[in-house]
Subunit: 234 residues, 2 copies
């Protein structure tokens, strides 16, 4: 497998990055292009994402690919949502007919995951609720979840009183919490109070080591899909 | 205002329709193009929609526009969801912080409406649940709705026992029900048992006359937006 990393200076201009993307779009050696986010302030993220050839957009973030996802005919499923779906399916928790509560509405996790799981497709077909900072009665809603996905970005936001017995919990949070006992000065924590919630849960993913590795695996799946699309077309 | 209707024969081929769209995309007299769906079986709907210049797609159905909607930066909001949002806002029912239950997951109503109302934007910010044919406990979920949107396509699917007192109901259903007392042999009915539900509801839209006229108005709004975009850019 051929792969190349382009380390750009943090003072790179939008025009320079657009030039690079344009050349990568046209270069048949590359089937997939991943722009590592976030970008520095002088570069508009949406301008860059929309400049990608959708057929090489292995992150699935180009609006064209996001739209195909919502319409139920995706070429690429964004990596984290795809990884979460695979964790569920490969552990025997088909979301079909289940009530999935997605806490968080980001463009890379909450919204595409909700979109993915409500589709009329094998591996989806869930009843989906999306909650966020403006949700009035969060605990009342999370307690209904058969499958609870925490993608909030706040350590220990989901506590044991917020889940029902037998819930399946996917913790997408990766929060740095100050910790002077660690050599690097912090530890990683999820969005879920792991010990207390795991006592009630049928299954729960840890942080780190849960969703993260699956995200990477799904990026490789998308790159393979991109190569197939470039050879065989849609 | 200049406008033109192209009545095509039902035997029109996909290639012929693509040719027409290509010429309309290039024709500066037209700011908006609306393809009346459904299309006859020899024409693939997605091929036609994806052939539209997204900047003229006043229906908001091109995947690029759908993706922008999910990402919270839409150029065009699909007409029926936009109309429903306006009905709510102009009658004093801001969905912010409310629990909106959307019954139905079609590409033209359920999915884009749920997408629209959960955004972090003025006029949205709702906690949103999407239900569908695979939902296990529909009545239990609909009874939680502060705002209930019925887009099921089944007459009288929502009955009075399925809603709570004070609910706001938007009925998107347009079902033809046989009725020999009508000159045309049928009457139009919504998805909601209107009389019984309206006794419990704070507000409810009728069928016909509720959502339908707003859909048409929003198409005109989108056409105006398209004209602005063509002149001033994004």
């Amino acid at each position: 497998m051929f792969s190349e990393i382009f380390h750009l200076d943090e003072t790179t201009t939008e025009a320079e990055l657009l030039d690079l993307i344009s050349s990568l779009n046209a270069d048949p050696r590359f089937h997939g292009i991943l722009v590592q986010l976030p970008l520095p302030p002088q570069i508009e993220e949406t301008v860059i994402i929309e400049a990608l050839d959708p057929i090489k957009d292995v992150d699935g973030l180009h609006p064209f690919n996001v739209g195909k996802l919502l319409q139920g005919v995706p070429d690429f499923i964004p990596a984290t949502p795809a990884g979460i779906q695979q964790i569920l399916l490969r552990n025997g928790y088909d979301p079909a007919g289940k009530h999935v509560v997605v806490c968080g509405r980001s463009n890379i996790v909450g919204k595409p995951l909700a979109t993915l799981l409500l589709q009329r497709r094998a591996g989806s077909n869930a009843t989906v609720t999306v909650t966020h900072t403006r949700t009035a009665n969060l605990a009342e809603i999370t307690r209904q979840a058969d499958i609870l996905v925490a993608a909030i970005g706040q350590p220990r936001a989901i506590t044991a009183d917020m889940v029902k017995d037998g819930v399946v919990v996917i913790d997408v949070g990766v929060n740095r919490v100050d910790d002077s006992t660690r050599r690097r000065g912090y530890r990683l924590e999820g969005d879920v109070e792991f010990e207390a919630v795991s006592a009630k849960a049928e299954a729960i993913t840890p942080v780190p080591g849960g969703v993260g590795p699956m995200t990477i695996a799904m990026l490789l799946v998308n790159t393979l899909t991109a190569a197939r699309l470039s050879i065989h077309g849609r």
